[in-house]
């Protein structure tokens, strides 16, 4: 282990019982050639400083737990190979989120926004079991499949300048999820979600920085979803103006 090259890690630390504001702490550790950033954090926690707090779980870019800022960019630390970084690696908690401890951020605000878009299939009338499953063609699946790939890692929130400045903004992942259900052929709740989307701090707050899509590790393209949701919300609103009963049959 001692023959391995060393890297310096500058890690944000914050203990709510002691610190007024976050500070940084440096660790110099030997790194294996195939290590990810998360491996280094786990090494520091296991071998050097057990007080370091960070979230992780699956280690294969599926659970979305280990999102952090690595050298100023929101990244899944389990996906970032250390060999791609220089001798010094800065790791800090996700930007735009309140910091609970060290690299752990407050998730409840994110969950509040998620719930508000009603991320489930809404039916005017539920199908009876004996009516069989709701069928969906591959073409219909294709219309929303990309947006259903989100793993809720929150990197998009961390990159978004609107999230940084407008606390009411629903944010990329929540809007993408709401839009995903709006374009699902089995769903009948678009009108209810569009009411949410047309409210204050929602789809129209997005200024299309496109950063959410740039940093998305699963290529969900939330910026596309947000701006498609804008389009649909306007169409929905216009239908309400010009068609009898808002175009509802």
């Amino acid at each position: 282990m001692s023959d391995l090259p060393k890297k310096k890690f500058v890690i944000t630390r914050f203990d709510p019982d002691v610190d007024e504001v976050p500070k940084t702490q440096e660790y110099e550790i030997p790194v294996e050639p195939d290590w990810k950033v998360l491996d280094a954090l786990n090494f520091i926690k296991d071998e050097i400083d057990g007080t370091l707090s960070h979230r992780w779980s699956c280690r294969m870019a599926v659970c979305g737990s280990c999102g952090m800022m690595v050298n100023g960019e929101p990244k899944l630390t389990c996906k970032e190979t250390l060999a791609d970084y220089g001798d010094t690696v800065e790791v800090s908690p996700l930007a735009n989120f309140p910091i609970v401890r060290d690299l752990v951020v407050e998730l409840d605000g994110f969950m509040d926004k998620f719930k508000s878009v009603k991320p489930w299939i809404i039916r005017a009338k539920e199908l009876a079991v004996d009516e069989g499953p709701m069928r969906q063609s591959p073409e219909e699946l294709e219309e929303f499949k990309q947006f259903s790939m989100c793993i809720n890692c929150m990197l998009c929130y961390s990159a978004c300048p609107v999230v940084a400045n407008e606390p009411e903004f629903l944010g990329p992942a929540a809007i993408a999820l709401g839009h995903r259900y709006n374009v699902d052929s089995r769903d009948e709740g678009a009108e209810r979600r569009n009411e949410v989307f047309r409210g204050e701090g929602t789809v129209f707050s997005c200024s299309f920085a496109n950063e959410c899509s740039e940093v998305c590790p699963k290529h969900v393209d939330p910026a596309a979803a947000v701006n498609q949701a804008k389009f649909n919300a306007v169409i929905d609103w216009a239908k309400g103006l010009v068609l009898p009963r808002g175009g509802e049959s």
Partner: protein, 147 residues
């Protein structure tokens, strides 16, 4: 550490029992990395604001009389105005290219039963329309059309 975000950014509706540290902005915002193009895009709004005032001035000169119109045209030959117009042209091209790049993916998968054309077709259509309209306006302004 980076600059602070809005103090209530991503705060829960019901505060938790643990004291939290204030959220921080993405460290590269606003002038590093990819944010630079976004910030530049925002700043072009200032150019369009000035262009708007200039358009009002043109309309005012048109309505006031020939002497004012001629004086305005002479003033527009000042190098500062010429430089500003070049800057305005560059910013229009920048915003146009940026907007066209994003527009195709902003189209919903369908509007009612109608599906939009494939994204490359939308993008191509936008550029053809832009070049076509610019060409027609150039011909009108040069006097080749509707003389």
């Amino acid at each position: 550490m980076a600059r602070a975000s809005h103090p209530h950014a991503m705060h829960p509706k019901k505060p938790g029992s643990t004291r939290t540290a204030a959220p921080q902005m993405p460290p590269k915002f606003p002038m590093a990395g990819r944010y630079r193009a976004y910030t530049l895009f925002d700043w072009t709004g200032l150019i369009y604001l000035i262009l708007g005032f200039m358009a009002l001035e043109i309309v005012w000169a048109l309505g006031t009389g020939k002497a004012e119109w001629v004086a305005l045209m002479e003033r527009f030959q000042n190098p500062i105005y010429v430089i500003f117009h070049v800057l305005a042209l560059v910013s229009v091209i920048f915003v146009g290219v940026r907007f066209f790049g994003f527009f195709p993916k902003s189209q919903p998968p369908r509007i009612g039963p109608v599906k939009p054309p494939p994204q490359p077709v939308i993008l191509g259509g936008l550029y053809v329309a832009w070049i076509g309209i610019s060409a027609v306006f150039s011909l009108i302004l040069s006097g080749a059309l509707f003389r």
